[in-house]
Every structure is written in C-alpha cells, then in structure tokens.
Symmetry: D2
Subunit: 469 residues, 4 copies
C-alpha cells in the first residue's frame, strides 16, 4: 500500500502517502529546482535555525530536540560550504536536500523541523533573506563605479569637452560635470534598491501553507531573529507574493539602462572618430582576423547584457500574470530571473568600475573638438539677450550667423565685428570673449550648471557621500 521510497525519489519522504506511483523521471527532471535554489542554502538554514529555536522557546519541541536539530543544520551548512555534501544530485529542492541530510545525520527527530511551516513560507523567507544581502552587495558595486567615475572627475577637473544633445555638439561643458551626471543617476539606483529592501524586509515565516497554523508559534520572534523589520501580516499574502523579486529586477533593469548609456558613450568615445578616451589593453580585445583591432568589448557587452535584465523582468511579470492566490508552482520560475538579474547587473558594474579606473581621458582631443564647432552660439544669443534683445529674436539672429558661417566655411571666432553688425547692431567689442569656448563654462551662473564653481561643489559633495578622500 505504501509508495515505494527509492533512493532517487527522495521527495516521497515529503508527500508520498497519498500517491500510488512515483514521480515520472522526466517529470522529476522538469520540476526539480535544486540546481538553481541550492544558492539559497545559507538562507534556508538560517531560517530553519531561527524557527527551531522559537519552537523550543515556545515549548513546541523539546530543547534537546532543538539543539540536536540546530547542531545538525550547522554541520550541514559547513558540509556544503566545504563541498563535502554535494547538492544537485537527485534532490528536488534545497529545502528537501537539507532536511533529508538532517534525517541521515540525526534520525527521525529531523521530522520535527518542518513543524508549523511549509515550503511555501520557507522559500519566501529564503528569497527575502537572500535578496536583502544581494541588494547590499549590488549597492556596493554601484558605489564602486561611482567612486571610479568620481576619481576621474576629480583628476580631470577643469578639462573641457563638447556637451551633446541629439549627439550633436551643443555647448562646451566640463568633463567632470558629464561624469558627475552619471554619478547622480547611479545614486537613484541605490536609492531604488534601498526602498525595495525596506519594502521586502518582513518575515513570511510561519504563514505555513497559506492559512497559518494551529501550533502556537511566535512569528515575531523568528522575524526578529532573522533581522526582519516585522512580519508579513496576512498569511495568504505571505505565500502568494513575489513583489520583492519583481521590484528588485525592475531596479536592476533601470540601473542597467543607465549603465548601457554610459557604455554607449565609451564605445563612441573610444572610436577613431571621437578619440576622447583610450581603454586600457587589459580591458579590450582584438580580432582574430584584423591585426590592428582593439575593441571596447567590455562596454559593448555591458550594453548588450541590458537585454538580459530586461528579459528577466518581463519573464517574472509574465509568470505572475493572472495567477490566483495563493502559491502556484509557476512561481518557482522566479529564481532564474532573480539570480540572472543580480549576477548580470553586479558583474557589469564591477567590470565597468575596473575598466573606468584604467581608462585614459584625452583632454587635448576633447578641447580640440570644442574649438571645431559652433558650440558658443548659445553664448552669443545670451549676449544679445543681455543687451536687451528678446531671446527668441537673439536666437534667430545667431541662427542666421551660423548659417552664414556654414556656407562660408567659417567658425564664429573668425568673424569681424563689422560682419556681426550686419546681423544685429547690438553686437559690441566685448562679444569676442563670448566666442572662446574655453571660457564658456565659467560664465554659467545657475545652480547645478557646468561652471567650475558649481562642479567643484558637486565633486566635494560626492567625495563626502561616497567616502572618497
């Protein structure tokens, strides 16, 4: 009458009673998750330890049982740490793998571990614990890139470059100012991660399958022991929810979008056409056929991997769409995207930080570029505005001048005052200092602008915030 308990079907242990037939081998392969969720073993054991201690404190199991189980779990953790107990060999999932090993080590008392909990609340606990630390790790990777950019920003303070809109040269800016814009951007990524962390930091443990348990457990105690800010207050929500995964991946997707923009710029800037930076040989690769090639592969890969994280986001959103409460097995599919988003995003920020540190910025090339265009045209319009010409009219006048220059193949500093007068009588001798692009940034007055004074303020602020001396 009993379902046979073959070694390779350990799950029979968990829920064999009702079944007359073993799980089909293909079905086992299809549904197992140990090869993926084994990454959660520390969190799984931490959760179990908190749970077992609480059970003993509440008198639900005997203290001696608790310490037996606790000792067993700690040993198993060590075994896994050291590779002595190999996961991913025929178990269904991480919870089961650990529990079965516990049976082997301490016998039937192991069966008490699963008192008053279910794999449904257990996996949710594991994931939240894992994400908590993943977020901290990732935020540090983001900060590391911020620091690398800040160092460059600091080192090249004063260097001028063309600012772009529409990838057309717009106005001269400080290179530092441009790099600081990315630092601001990444700061929002960290802030988004922090908010996600705060929102997920509640304990689902003890929700059991979905309805709670008749056993008088203390969920607040386990929550506290595990460092959660409190408990998830509705047991059905506790096992139905995967917001924490999605919000995390969404934050990663936005961060990767930011990084892809920086990567795009470095691909452009290291091209022969721009020539603004040289990526160190150690972060570039060559071609198997073209001996002269030195390619910005890391930046390209970062840009390309953005797709992976977007894909991970759509993956979980799709999986969760239209699922009735509470737990459904579909939800097992949240882990691959969660891990993939973390790994990819972290790796991309790390490599970019490393690469940034060894990248050379060519101040002279950037300065040369600034002199080769019309990027002081806005100054000229501002000049006219100061002389009382309404802005729209000033804009029109300068536009005409630029058109004239383009036709005559001249640049603005090439023009004589007489020529300028033909376009507007408001021009005066003092106009010429407005035509030197190198003087442009310093003339900016507004808060947050590219003026060296403002940029220096920003650098100081970021040094403080990022603990950089």
């Amino acid at each position: 009458m009993k379902r046979s308990k073959k070694k390779q079907k350990p799950n029979a242990k968990l829920w064999g009673g009702r079944f007359t037939e073993d799980l089909n081998a293909l079905a086992f392969e299809f549904s197992k998750s140990i090869h993926i969720d084994k990454r959660l073993y520390r969190e799984d054991i931490a959760g179990s330890l908190a749970h077992i201690e609480m059970l003993a404190q509440k008198g639900i199991i005997a203290p001696s049982e608790a310490s037996q189980i606790g000792r067993g779990l700690r040993e198993i953790e060590k075994e896994i740490d050291e590779g002595v107990f190999p996961l991913d060999s025929g178990q269904e999932d991480i919870h089961l793998a650990i529990e079965q090993r516990l049976f082997e080590k301490i016998g039937n008392v192991a069966g008490k571990l699963h008192t008053a909990r279910s794999r449904n609340d257990q996996i949710a606990t594991d994931e939240r614990l894992w994400l908590r630390s993943a977020i901290q790790t990732l935020a540090e990777s983001v900060a590391s890139l911020q620091r690398a950019l800040l160092e460059k920003s600091d080192a090249h303070f004063g260097a001028i470059m063309p600012g772009y809109t529409h990838l057309q040269r717009a106005q001269p800016i400080l290179l530092s100012h441009h790099l600081l814009a990315h630092i601001e951007t990444f700061e929002r990524d960290k802030s988004r991660l922090r908010d996600a962390l705060a929102r997920m930091n509640f304990s689902p443990l003890g929700a059991a399958a979905l309805a709670g348990t008749p056993i008088p457990i203390d969920r607040h105690k386990t929550a506290k022991a595990l460092g959660f800010a409190g408990i998830v207050e509705n047991s059905i929500d506790a096992v139905s929810d995967r917001d924490y995964v999605i919000e995390f991946i969404s934050a990663c997707a936005i961060a990767m979008m930011h990084l892809s923009r920086l990567a795009e710029e470095w691909v452009l800037w290291s091209s022969q056409e721009f020539g603004f930076i040289t990526i160190a040989d150690a972060f570039a690769t060559g071609s198997s056929i073209m001996p002269q090639k030195k390619n910005p592969d890391m930046a390209e890969l970062v840009r390309g991997k953005t797709g992976r994280v977007y894909g991970a986001l759509i993956s979980v959103l799709t999986t969760m769409k239209g699922l009735p409460l509470a737990y459904n097995r579909d939800m097992q599919e949240d882990k691959v995207p969660m891990f993939e988003a973390f790994d990819t995003t972290k790796q991309c920020f790390d490599i970019f930080a490393e690469m940034a540190r060894s990248t050379e910025f060519h101040e002279s090339e950037m300065k040369k570029a600034v002199h080769r265009d019309f990027s002081t045209a806005t100054e000229l319009a501002d000049y006219l505005t100061k002389k009382g010409v309404p802005f729209r009219e000033a804009h029109e006048i300068v536009g005409n001048i630029v058109r004239f220059c383009v036709a005559e193949r001249l640049l603005l500093p090439d023009l004589h005052l007489k020529t300028l007068h033909a376009f507007s009588p408001a021009f005066d001798d003092d106009v010429f200092e407005y035509l030197n692009p190198e003087k442009s940034p310093a003339r900016k007055k507004s808060a947050g602008s590219t003026s060296p004074k403002e940029v220096a303020k920003q650098i100081a602020k970021w040094k403080r915030l990022l603990n950089l001396n």
Copy 2:
C-alpha cells in the same frame, strides 16, 4: 536669406535662423507631439509662471514684463480649459503652442519667457509635475478598490471558503482573510508609488539645454514655487533622465499584475463550476449569439489590459537603452507609454472597485465546497503532531488515509475511529472535531492566520488605515 515663416510651420519661430528650408510636411507630422503632450498644458503653464516670477524677482526681466506674460499665460490656460484655444492643430508641441499663442496675445515681450530655459528642462519639469498629481490620483483609485474589498471583507466576516494552492483545495480559510490578502498587496502598490513620487520630486527647471545658463536665475526659488522638494543637482542629469517615467510605469505594471490575479479569481469564481460570486448585470455583458450568456467582461478586460502596461514598460526601457547623454529626440517617445500606463491602470482599478461593490458573494456555495473535499487533512496531521508523532510521519499517515478515501469514495468525516486506528494508534475520540472544516479556521493560532480573531484584527487595522467606518 531668411527662412520663410509660413503659418503652418510655427516652429520656424523657434529655430528657423540656421535653416534654409522648411521642415518637410511628412517629417512635421512624424515628429510633432502636440496631439500627445497637450495633456501637459496646465503643468507647462504652471512651470512658466514660476519661471517668469523668478526672472522678475532676480531682476532679469522687468516686473511689468513678468506681469504681462503672467496674465497672458493665465488667459491661455483659461482658453484651453474652455476649449476656446484648440490645441492639436498644426503646432509642434505644447510648449510652442502656448508660446506662440502668447506672442499673438502680448506681442514680442512673449519672447522673454524662454530666457534661461530650454524645452529640454521644460518638458522634464512638466512631466514631473504631471506625474506628481497622477500618482496621487492613482493611489486614490487603488485605495478605493481596497475600501470596496474591505467592505466585502467586513460584511462577510465569518464566511468560510476553500483556500487554494495550485488551484487545488488546500485548507479552509475565511473569505475575509482572502480578500484582505489582496488589500495588503495593493498597499505595497501605493507605497511603491509614494517612493517613486519622493524620488522624482525635484526640479529640473533652469538646467537649460544641458549646461545651465549664464543668466543669474534662482533654481531653488522656482523649485519651491512649484512644490518640489529641491532641485535636480546636475544640469546634464536634469535633461537626460527619464527614471521618473520608468519607475512610475514599473509600479503600474506590478499593480496591474496584482489586479490581474484578482481578476483571474473573479473569472473563476463567477464560472458555473465555482459559483462563488455573481457579478451584477450592470458589470457583465452577454453574447450576440448565445442568449443565456452572462460574461465577466470587466474582469477579463482588466486581466487582458495587464499586457498593455507591461508593453508600456518595455517600450520606455527599450527607448532609453543605449542613449548617450544628454537629451535625445528618442526621449519624446516616453509620453505615450506614460499616459497609457496611467490611464489603463487607473481605469482598471476604478472599474474593479465599482464592480466589487455590486458583486454578490455566495457564502453557502463556498461553505458547500469546503465540505466536499479533504481540506482538513492538515488538521489531522497537526493533530497527530500534537500527540507526539513527528510531523513528517504524521503527514505520511494522513496521506495514506486520503489515498484510502479516494479509492473508497469516502470523505474524512465518514471514517470510523477503528479505521483510523488501522493507520495509526495515536488517533483518539477527540479527532472528530478536527474533521469539521468549519471549525478549522478558529483553531489557527499564528499571527496573520485565518483565525477569526486574527482576521478581525486585520479588518480593524485596515478600517483605520483606509478611513472606513
């Protein structure tokens, strides 16, 4: 030498000077955004009013000019409100439409409005202002559904239903408990929206094109006047960033995912097979061919529209991928998804709240269902655990009992103690009260569980939080 200023090419006004040729008609149609961004006219005018007042306070324009422009703008707002000044008729975008109308009304002094700003910082200001109020509106729609569910939860307090996992009956729960799970879920949506709001509530105004401006404006003053918490601190970031759009849509996507789950349940529950609810005729539609049909169309449409919001999210993420700083015209494509996410999400929450209020819950059908299955099997295992049987063993024993019942076409309450004894000697007379599913919820003890006591606590909490009496 001048570019011709035909009436239908008003943009010539803005940047005609440099150009020798008018914008191609097809290109104008392709690139204009007035039919979309006209929705931002109030925000655009509010931004301009704050800007112009600051310009006067700083002595950049004369007070009389400021009041002329201010009066003009207020009149234009009224004209648009009243439909007197029709937008979407040949203008390029909302900024230009308003400015040109201002020229018509007050003449050349209108040209001073655009002093020390660009459309790049202007649109970012408009969007942030619009989203600020959109988020508040949307949060209210979410709260409205929460209240509708809470009313039902309150009204049906005590009603029992099958709790599901894997859409298989799991354990008896209170209907109220289930509805409260959705309320928790939606609370996270509001919290996510609030975080997004806090992160975006900074003023980009005065960043100008990207580099700031030589004109001595006070960005803090306009920020304050517009209710922002501060300024975006880097002018390049100010015009390059669209995080606020993406984070908003991401929050909408998660909210829609939640709503799609509720919608799925109502589609199931209103089916002949479940029969748990009846949706009011006013929220159902029939078939053009099958006279008996009454379909849960609103729930289906809500579920289906989830796709639209996911699509909006991918849309902006894709658009922003790999764009170098600062503004690029691609970014104009952020508005359709932003509006679509807001409209769809709001409409879905609103309709669901309305529908929920008029939906009948059939307590008797739910109760009948609970009696027709094995949902007290877990009680039975818990019973054995209390008698000292390790949980895993208890689970196996009860599994065997269920298998026996399935084969014999019996339910658990049909069993005699003698039969139970054949499975385990630990069974006693007191087992039978564990087999009544209606008594199951009250036996739960854990915080957040489905026990009436815990559920009552939750209802009280939510009444307080949602201001429901």
Copy 3:
C-alpha cells in the same frame, strides 16, 4: 420584464433578454471598443456582404432580403467613407454600430444579417482581412526605403568608407556595399511579412460562437468571396486564435530593430565627429535655445519608436498568456497593439525613405577617414599568408607592426621596407600596394564581398528585384 432599451445602450439590442439591469456607464466606457475597431468598418462590411450573399445562395434567407441588406450595408459604407455616419458615439463596437444603422435603414430584416455567425468569428474575419491589406501596404513601405537606399548605393558606386566592427574601423569597404547590407536585411522583413500573410489567410467566418452552426451555411463560399485561401478548419480554433496578430507584430518588431540600426548609423554619421552625411534641413530640426543646432530628429525618433513596437509585441503576448479556449474578452486588447505596430512601423519606414532620398553623402570625408587608420592591416596579414606564413603567425606579426606604429605615431604607409623586414623577412617590395586602403576593396575575391565587381552584381540584382531602372 424587459430590459429597457435606452438609446445610449444599443447593446441591449444584442443581448438584452437575459439581463435585468443596463450596463453601468463606467463599465460601458471601459469595455467599448468602437473608438478603436471603427478602423475595421470596410472589412466588417465586406465580411457581411459575403456572408449575406452566401445565406441567400444557400436559401437560408430570401434573395430579396439579401439584396435589401446588401444595399443597406453598401450605403452605410458610403456614409462612413464620407463622414456622414459618425462612428464612436455611444456604440459598443463596429459590428454593432453597423448593424444598428442597418436596422435604422431597413428595419427588422436587418436582424437576419447575424444569422449563423457570432461577433467571435466576425472580428477574427475583420482582423485577418485588415491585416492582409496592412501587410501589403507595409511591404510596399519597406520596398520604398530599399529603393531609396539602392539609389544612393548606385549613385555613390565606387565611394570608399571605413567598415566598422565594434564601432572601430575594421577594413575599407564600399559605401554601396554597406547600404546593400541594409537592403538585404529589409528583404527578410518583407519575406517574413509574406509568410505571416500566407499563414493567416484562412477564413474563420461561420465558426459562429465556437461550435459552428446548425444552419447549413457554406463556409468555403464566403472564404472564396473574401479572397481567403481556405477556411480555418476547426471552429474552436477559429475564434480562439490570435496568432496572426502576434506574428504580424513580431515581424514589425524585427523590422523596427533593423531600422533602428540604420537610424543609429545616421545619427552617428551626421555627427560632427563622423561627418559622413548631411541630412537635409527639411528632415532636421533645431533647438529652442542653441541657435547653431541641427539635429537628426527623424532618425532619433525612428530609433526611439522601436520601443513602441517591442512594447506592442509584449502587450499581446502577455494578454494571450494562459487564456483557456475559446474567446475571452481579454482578446479585445489585441487591436491597439496591432494598429500601433502597423502605424509606427509604416510611418518610420516612410519617413526614412523620404529622408534618405534627400540626404547627402560626403564621399571625400569617408575617404579621408579611411586614410587615417590601420584598416589595411588585414591586407598585410593576407599578404603574408600568400607568402606562405600561416595566418595566425601573420596576424601576430602585423599586430606587432601596428603596436609599433601607434607608439611612434605612424601609419602603415609611412613604414620603410627595412622597418617591415625587422618584423618579418617575408615582406617584399610589392607590399606597398597593399597599404593603400583605396585599393583594398578591389582585391577582395569572395562572393558577396566588398569588391566593386561583387557590389556591382548586387546592385544589378536589386535593381531587378525592386523594379528600379
């Protein structure tokens, strides 16, 4: 006992009998689709005409009834064409709007039109008919861009430019060859659209709600009359399927991906750094603040709109995920993405074709670029290979030479034979003709290569295929 038939609830006509209450106003607004599906009126009427004719031929309705209905429908089509009968004013959907107008025109005999069909098969028929013609239109837009590129390819035959990989200069290529690569790409888009068309060109008409009909209709007859290749052979599949929408949008998404790559190139090429092309003033716009700006807005918008079409794809895929058969109201949400994908894709190809025609290519700038780098390094390696050096060794030697040149700030043609000999004794006098990048393309021998001979062949082929003289 009757549901009231207020004018503004015309749907009561369709399925009022079973209902005791009118549709809630909010619910009506939420669920109506007339503002979207009105675009299908011609297809809807075409389907009805074929249906009614068949009904008469099969003796199901009287010939006089058929001709009355037919005349009515044709008049309605004319009314809509001419804007006399305004759609989108209180109707639920296009089917109903037309049918109700028919009632107004011809009285109760209009009721016979809906014999043996349902809105479920009707909408599927409408969509397939619409897509059939949309695909042909779109393919023509793609072809138009191909022709514009081919004209440029032909006009600039012989012009040389740097070929890029990783956005680093790789080898000299013919500009024509590069443009032809895009033409190949777009040809696959057309082929993909054609396959989608062939797969969807089957008639669902007569499937009725899902089960077919007891009325002895002839589905083959209507299929033939409507130009379908046959009938959808399973009536449940006929009303459950939306593959045709998804496959169409998927083809659009791939086409937009292609176009975004071309757009990216034109943004790059029109930058000051590349300077390879000048986009006509008629297809560029300026800045409201920077008078000198001329931006490649059309290319940027095309690149940005790629997001919209990707979003549309995810939208429908999400909507259809997990829907049981047969028709579910969720499926109504297929139309916005379908129309949006079509409109966006068509508009983007059209504008690009127009822009391409008026874009100037600067052969001299491209040629200058080719001379400024190491793009003949591969030639040099190939040269050594011909002299018997294994390719891998040749590659290493040339790599060393390039490294030497970079350090010494030399280009390859600057080297003396003596210097070359220091790297390999295999170099000989004949090496120097390999160092002229302008001679590089002609040396290529492989099919499909950038050699003028091969490129000329391709141009000839495309002229033939695209009917260009």
Copy 4:
C-alpha cells in the same frame, strides 16, 4: 616587445600582437563565452571541415595540410564527445578552444585553418547550423504532443463537454473537437518554425570579418557541403544579422503561449470544481504540509515557463536595438536566450506529451456538467430562426426565457410548452429535442463544426498528417 603568452590567456594566440598588456582576469571572466558556446562544438567543427576541404580544393592550402587539419578536427570532436577534452576551462570561446587544441595536436599547420575566415562568420555559421537541427528537434516535440492529444481525441470520440467562452459555459461541444483545436494551433507553430528554418538556411561562411577576403575561396562549395540552400549574399549582412535567432525565439514564444493556454485548461480541469481530468500520480506532486494535496505541477510549470521564453525574446530584441553594422560584441549575448528558448520550449512540449498520455478524461463528469446549464439556449434561438423569427428577436426571446429560469431556479428542459408559448407563439412540440444538450453537436452543419461527422473528418485528417494509425 611581445605580449607574454601565459597559458591561461590563450586568446593572446589570436590577437596578441597589437597589445602590450594581458587581458584583465575579471575582464576575461566577463567576456568569455566558452561555458555557453561549447554547445556548438559539433557545428563549429563541421564548419571548419567544410572550409578546410574547400581551401584544399581551391589550392589555397595543400591537400596534405587539409587532411592533417581534418584528421585533427575529427579527433577533437571525438575527444569532446567522450569528455576527454574538457571544454570550459580557461578558453575564451569554442572556436579558440578547438583551434588551440588543434595546435597542440598538429602544430603550426593548425594556423592555416583560420585562413580566409573570421570568428564573425564562423559563429554565424555555427548558430545557423545548430538552429537548423534544433528546429527539427523542436518540431518533432511539438508533433509528439499533437499525437498525444490526437490519441485522446480519438479515444474519447463522441464524449460531450461544455464549450466555454469567457470561461462561461457556452455550447455543448465534443471533447475531441476541443483537443483538435489545440492540434491546429500547434500545427501553425511547426509551420512557423519551418519558415524560420527556410529563411535562415544560407551560409555566411567566407564573409570573413565583414568585407570578404582577397583569398579566392568558393563560398558556394562550403555552403553546399554544409547543406545550406545558398550563401548569404552580402558579406556585411552575413556578420551583422541575428534575425535567425530572433525569429526562432519568436516562434518559440508563440508556441509557449499556446501551450500555456492548454496548461491553464488542465489546471482548471483537474481542479475539484471542474473535475474533468485526473493527472496521473507520476505527473503530479504533493505538499510538504497538506497530506491530501495532489497538484498539477507540470502544467503550472509549463504555464510559468512561458515567461522565460518571452523574456528571452525581449532580451535579444533589446540587445540588437540600435547597433550599427557590422559585428558588435553585444551580439555575443544572443546565445543564452537562444539556448534557453530552445531548452525550455522543447522540455515543456515533451513533458506535456508524456503527461497527456497518462491523463484520464472523465466523460461522465463532463456530460454531467453539460446538463447543468443553459448551453442549449443557442439551439433554442436557432430553432426560432428556422421558424422564421429574425435572429435578433429570437435571441431576445430566449434571453427572456433564461432570465425567467434563473429566477425560478429551473433549467430549460424543465419548461412546459405552455410556458414557452408565453414567450413566443413560434414554439412547437418539436422544440424539446432541441433542449437535450447531448443532441446538440450532431445538429451542427457547418464545416469545421463540432458535429461528430465534422470531427471525425478532422481526426482522420490529423491521423494522416501525423502518421498515427
């Protein structure tokens, strides 16, 4: 002067000459792809064999060199097959791993293998070859599920069930008819895969880096040897294109969408509420806490994994967006999604086919369901139509009857003729045979309908097409 060639930086072999520094270890880890592309080793070797043979035939390398290299490659393939030569241990990618092993085996002549090709055309060749066989494998998996469903369709011919729209009972249909609808659906998936195959079956080999090669190779010869239908005709397109990957994943995504619909149905049908099927114990799993549970995990996982494939699609579309021609390193990111789409889709179809074969269909439960509702209401309306009542009026009458029944808690067969007459005088004695749902299917007349005659025809057709006896 030489870059050091440490063992762990084998890529130095490929492109070391120009570099002064080894690749950073983190960068190597980040950019290597051997752990992913090792799956392509057979295709890579097949491509090399065809290439080397052609080189010899064209006299570019000596016959003896070719046979040396060929022998070496065949040995390497065997080594990998047998696990003797472990991949994924410090190599950069599969091409390099094989080539370096070749050097070890046959010495410097190995260097001739890379004559006239690049990794750019090599990887494109490998992928196309791999996909060609992947598509055939996948099509067979789809066919296998079709056969499993066809067997069930055949075995249960005649069984009746409720047909659903909006998940509301609509009309009685044959179970076989419903299953056949899925078979039709999957046939389109196979057809889509076939089209993708035909479009990708062209050889990029010999395109070299992007420009072709001066070495007089014969691309048609290698194309033919590798079973391609021809060559990719433009060498730049050959290395820039990844359409084949995207189109393949898109076809997988649509197939998964289809499968998710079937999976949703099986989740519903195996619920206590529907009770239409029993999934075999071998394809279900239990709960760790609830002993009675038997969950349809395989169907749920299939439904959930749909997200993975959608994610893969968005992943590659995003990666390719906005990339200039020709090869960019971003494109390396196409492989994970390609393999993931294949593996997931294949696995899901395989498991579903297996599960389907062992699933029990409960004809009696389905029949019972049909008797418990109003699914013959359409018959009744059709009956009235036959009696000359216009369809719209008939629909209204029957709607009223249903409303009456709902209020009185009656079913249609419970009504007396007198009661029916109160609704319409057109009713007659013969009406009652229309009220038996079991007779409903047979009354359908239209092609493709649920009438047993039509369904039998479909079964016969599919048996023929799927080679099922």
